[in-house]
Symmetry: C2
Subunit: 104 residues, 2 copies
DNA sequence: AGGAAACTTGCGCGTTTGCGCAAGAACTGA
DNA sequence: TCAGTTCTTGCGCAAACGCGCAAGTTTCCT
């Protein structure tokens, strides 16, 4: 069941939204930072990735709109995390097709 | 090894190119048509997807540049096919994250 | 209430993307 | 060689994207 038999147009649109959300190196970097299952704040991620906070907020909004990450408030900070385990499979599959080789 | 430990920037860029290539419903439709492992011509795919031939040629060029499909000439027609089995895993993982449900 | 910290939203700018159309290139068959 | 088929490439346009900056919102602390 690698590929669904016959997705509808709406299903393809949703897949396209998800793929589009992954189509940016900074957003992929974010997902790597969240891949351990932990939560990280916007400022933390923006520092890590090396972009301004508003920019990071936009990127995270894209990821959230695609259902790739979820967020929750804790005090004045907002913590983001991977929405589902299947996201890790997706990122892994992406890296494999892209020709990445896991060290070892 | 769902996610590579620490991809380089270049690896992330390549992943982004692949993801971008998947970020279009028409191109996803093409991959569904090729998912059975068969080969299809440009005109065939353009008819299936419902777009003009030049447009389809562009889409296929994007997929080929990302290493997702390969092509070969046979007479006057050019046949496209999935480049690697891992592509099917990727598309499947994408559909799963996008919320697609395989019938059953 | 006032101020600071963390995040989101709005706006303008340059770049990229997908499309339609026309023209070019590669191959076939008469 | 000449016409026909198939695919690719170039061009112009409208829409979307990523970015930087300023302003707004939410929360916390005193």
């Amino acid at each position: 069941m690698a590929v669904a038999a016959s997705p509808t147009e709406a299903q393809r649109d949703r897949s396209a939204v998800v793929a589009r959300a992954l189509a940016d190196p900074k957003r992929l970097f974010v997902l790597e930072n969240l891949a351990d299952g932990g939560e990280r704040s916007v400022g933390d991620l923006s520092r890590c990735v090396g972009c301004q906070v508003p920019n990071m907020s936009q990127h995270l909004a894209v990821l959230r709109a695609a259902g790739i990450v979820t967020s929750r408030r804790q005090g004045s900070t907002v913590l983001y995390r991977i929405a589902d385990r299947s996201v890790l499979d997706l990122v892994g599959a992406l890296q494999r097709v892209a020709g990445d080789r896991v060290a070892g």
